[in-house]
Symmetry: C2
Subunit: 563 residues, 2 copies
């Protein structure tokens, strides 16, 4: 963390004003790292062709989060010390005594606290009040005047994709499967944030909601991943979870992974992490145990990465069924959250329906006659007793007697049906992923008896592609180096850092610490013949090339081809 | 707006749940437009070489926004109707009677309301309570337990750059000028949002804070813009504002624009807008009148774009002096917000200072002796009366008698000084800019007697670069078109839409409506010889090329070179 702070990567926010736990800044170097990881993630999914990106507000009215279940269920249990009034997350207090304590109920937590005589970290007494669920959303009010409307900062970006489903569906002409991604801030008002970057109150999320027809064939071609053994920790049903190494296709065949679309996203997520430089040996998938999984989910895997905090959940891949779209449909009565499915064969239906007799209904109901006919045609059963009360769509009720209707026999062709699509969701915590990229890339070596740090970041996410260093700034070398920086900056999207102060050794060391893959040095020879040296961060080897070649290689992608 | 909604560009958020004024979604097409505008903006500034990108939290503790002045001054005046209790923005009520009413005081607003007998838009009475300032920040509490800390959603991204100034300064080795950008959400809890996209409660901002030494030469080379006449509306001092057409260099020479760095950012901002496709004839710069400008600002220009709401401010370019860094320094006492400036010539100073006599102070104060010596050396005046009370840095006070100190004469070389940098800030409202790009690109023509809409978006921001259309999906053309889409998607960063439903004419029309510059059609000939047609949106001309050529041209940047 001190290196991250010193090198402008990440640091605690608002520190000049005393700081706030759980809020962080990405600095001059980290800001670009974050953007490049976001950009790689975006391109990874958008290049599939049936996925789009949306952007929705972070402020979310309460009604939406009531429907989604967050108002009642986005909680942590908190225990208050009766002696000193300090408040802690109950699951943190018991974590030495219990695996996965965040899945326990309040009563279970209280029992473990009592049975083990767990003491208060503040005052050391063991006298706990009954634990209480605390909602973790940041509340606010929409409307600057009195009577503002209750709202919350979104706990996830996913609701945006569910609520814009009608537009996504129209965009893809109702041809499932398709998905929508969103990259943005999520908020969680932690009771007591800890573990630095891992558990923030405001964090960078990236979520994909992939809509599928549960009746359609979901098979995928997994041959691309045949040779890769994934580390899986399946739900043991009974007993302890044990890791196995298995390729994803076989895991699916053996029903360890329970749905092909879930398996496909596990493999694609693995590919993404490797692309941005994660260490494959420090990635594993852990399946949720049935009591850990949300009640509506049918399969759920956490992708965990290993680093200085042990194994940490960085991505969650869940089959959420039709829970989310169904919840919004139920709350609002909208019919817009359904997709259409053609039957293989149209169904011919012979049935009796009630029909209004126009010559009677017309004069009897005048302007309401249309509504009455409509309501009659929507009756699901044939009325047997007359007169009866008929509910109109506008809320009025009218009385219908037997002179107004007749029963007719009709034949109807039903070509398909409206249904709630199912959703598979890979949800990424980008800050946690970035933390682990830094952890996996961090190598402490030594040089001339002193500690020497190299950050082996992948070129795909390195904050700067190249650094330009004049050997000295005097004798015109500074000027040439600055001009070279300008030329390289004109290459589309390239980040070029200029560093002119202190010894060249110190400047190589700084560039290695922030993970710049290539260092270009302008020296006396450059002034004579226009060549420069290119130094490779990962093994510190150097070669000399012309600046024209340098530009050419950078334009075609990477300087790796020079070595 | 109805076209934007129908085509998945922008729509009112949460509409399934009844909607919330002032909150919008970017949909399947708009989401990508927003990202491309953000990416163009980012690259525009980062390619300068002395600008970095940061990312800071949107949740901001109250102390920060007290220091910045937002808690006391981020207000609109609201007037309440005494008759029906409806509340309106006072400046909206008087806008027919007054230019720039948002710069008026509460008393001025009340006077105009009374003098003109302005009536309540709800109940039509003219009986107003005294107007009151209403703070426009969304409030929240950090900490899910009782006693949470008061905070607000940030009203601007700028505070993030001021608070991370120490890291930005270290990154650039204290060599001004340098800048930092941030792209992200800003929040403004409007009393009564209107004008759709123009006035949102949550909006996409992009701000640059550029730090300069006020003593350094700030001249810039404006020759690049010599031939471009900008439309300026200068502060008239007295009388009405009148537009003039003038190149930026001359405007600076004539002191219409008052600072070279402000002029440079005006020109660079103009360039950016042209690059993403704005119509230059619908861009102008309006200088703030002195009573409209914040008291600390020395020059301030609004870039206005013309569209369906008239002339609308889309960018503000302000010279903010040292106000922001100074405000945080004053609130916190930090010394980290200053930059160092070397004097041209070091200054030699001869002066008398108080010095501790170690052999007396040591035994007298023991562990405190170091602190006492330190505090003595920091005295700004030589004490004349003994004993006197000396304040130590830890808050203690000790008594010093004349045996403990001596006055010594020293010579000091002062090489430079710490100072507060000045800030020039271009602040962009991206939603407003996007609205105007859509407005400037929107062309309603006719085709076969029917209205026909073309959205002339610049290729640099078009949501999709190409659309792939099978003439029909049958006979294998659908399959070939899908394969072609896959191949094109493999080209880095390219957006490729596939559309297979309804007639080819309808699909061209859809693609024209969402601004896709190039439509590729796979027809019977494609099946025979591997060629496709390329159709140019802007003039609907078509040519036929091989798919290899197609891929080659897209890889090298654009299909424009084919025509």
């Amino acid at each position: 963390m001190s290196m991250l702070k010193r090198r402008g990567i990440i640091f605690p926010a608002f520190s000049i004003h005393g700081g706030i736990a759980g809020l962080f800044d990405y600095g001059p170097v980290g800001g670009r790292l974050l953007r490049k990881v976001q950009q790689q993630w975006r391109e990874h999914w958008l290049s599939k062709g049936n996925i789009v990106e949306i952007d929705s507000p972070t402020i979310t009215p309460e009604t939406v989060l009531q429907a989604s279940g967050h108002v009642s269920a986005f909680n942590d249990h908190a225990s208050e010390c009766n002696s000193c009034s300090a408040i802690f997350r109950s699951d943190h207090l018991v974590e030495e005594y219990q695996q996965n304590p965040d899945s326990l109920s309040g009563t279970q937590l209280d029992t473990i606290l009592a049975e083990n005589g767990i003491s208060c970290p503040s005052c050391n007494k063991s006298d706990w009040a009954e634990s209480r669920p605390m909602n973790l959303m940041f509340g606010t009010k929409i409307g600057a005047t009195r009577g503002g409307r209750q709202a919350y900062m979104r706990p996830e970006t996913a609701q945006g994709m569910f609520l814009t489903f009608p537009m996504i569906q129209r965009h893809f002409r109702n041809r499932l499967p398709y998905g929508a991604i969103q990259i943005g801030k999520g908020y969680r008002n932690e009771i007591s944030p800890r573990q630095g970057m891992i558990r923030q109150r405001e964090f960078n999320m990236a979520e994909l909601e992939y809509f599928i027809d549960p009746n359609a064939d979901a098979s995928h071609d997994f041959s691309k991943w045949n040779e890769i053994d994934f580390q899986l920790i399946p739900d043991p049903i009974d007993g302890e979870q044990k890791p196995i190494n298995i390729d994803i296709g076989t895991a699916l065949t053996k029903n360890i992974v329970r749905h092909p679309t879930v398996a496909m996203f596990m493999a694609e997520t693995f590919d993404f992490l490797i692309k941005i430089g994660a260490d494959p040996s420090r990635i594993r998938f852990r399946q949720h145990e049935s009591d850990e999984m949300a009640h509506y989910a049918s399969d759920c895997w956490d992708l965990e990465m290993h680093g200085s905090y042990g194994w940490i959940e960085c991505v969650g891949i869940a089959h959420r069924g039709c829970y989310d779209l169904g919840a919004h449909e139920e709350a609002t009565g909208t019919k817009e959250l359904r997709a259409w499915r053609d039957f293989d064969e149209p169904i011919e239906v012979d049935k009796e329906v009630v029909s209004a007799i126009g010559s009677v209904v017309g004069p009897a109901f005048r302007q309401q006659a249309g509504q009455v006919s409509q309501a009659l045609s929507e009756l699901e059963t044939i009325p047997t007793a007359f007169p009866f009360d008929l509910d109109l769509n506008d809320g009025n009720v009218v009385s219908i007697d037997d002179s107004m209707v007749e029963v007719v026999r009709i034949q109807e062709t039903i070509r398909g049906e409206w249904y709630l699509p199912h959703v598979v969701e890979p949800a990424f915590g980008l800050d946690r992923i970035i933390w682990h990229l830094l952890d996996h890339g961090y190598e402490m070596t030594s040089k001339e008896g002193e500690e020497y740090l190299i950050l082996h970041l992948s070129e795909s996410v390195a904050p700067y592609e190249v650094v330009v260093l004049p050997l000295f700034e005097k004798d015109g070398m500074g000027k040439i180096a600055k001009e070279l920086q300008c030329k390289l900056l004109a290459i589309n999207g390239i980040g070029v850092y200029y560093d002119g102060t202190r010894s060249i050794g110190r400047r190589y060391a700084r560039a290695d610490e922030i993970g710049v893959p290539w260092a270009i040095t302008v020296d006396y020879e450059s002034m004579a013949d226009g060549t420069v040296t290119v130094r490779r961060r990962d093994d510190q080897s150097q070669i000399r090339i012309s600046t024209d070649d340098l530009i050419h290689h950078l334009q075609s992608g990477s300087l790796a081809s020079v070595f």
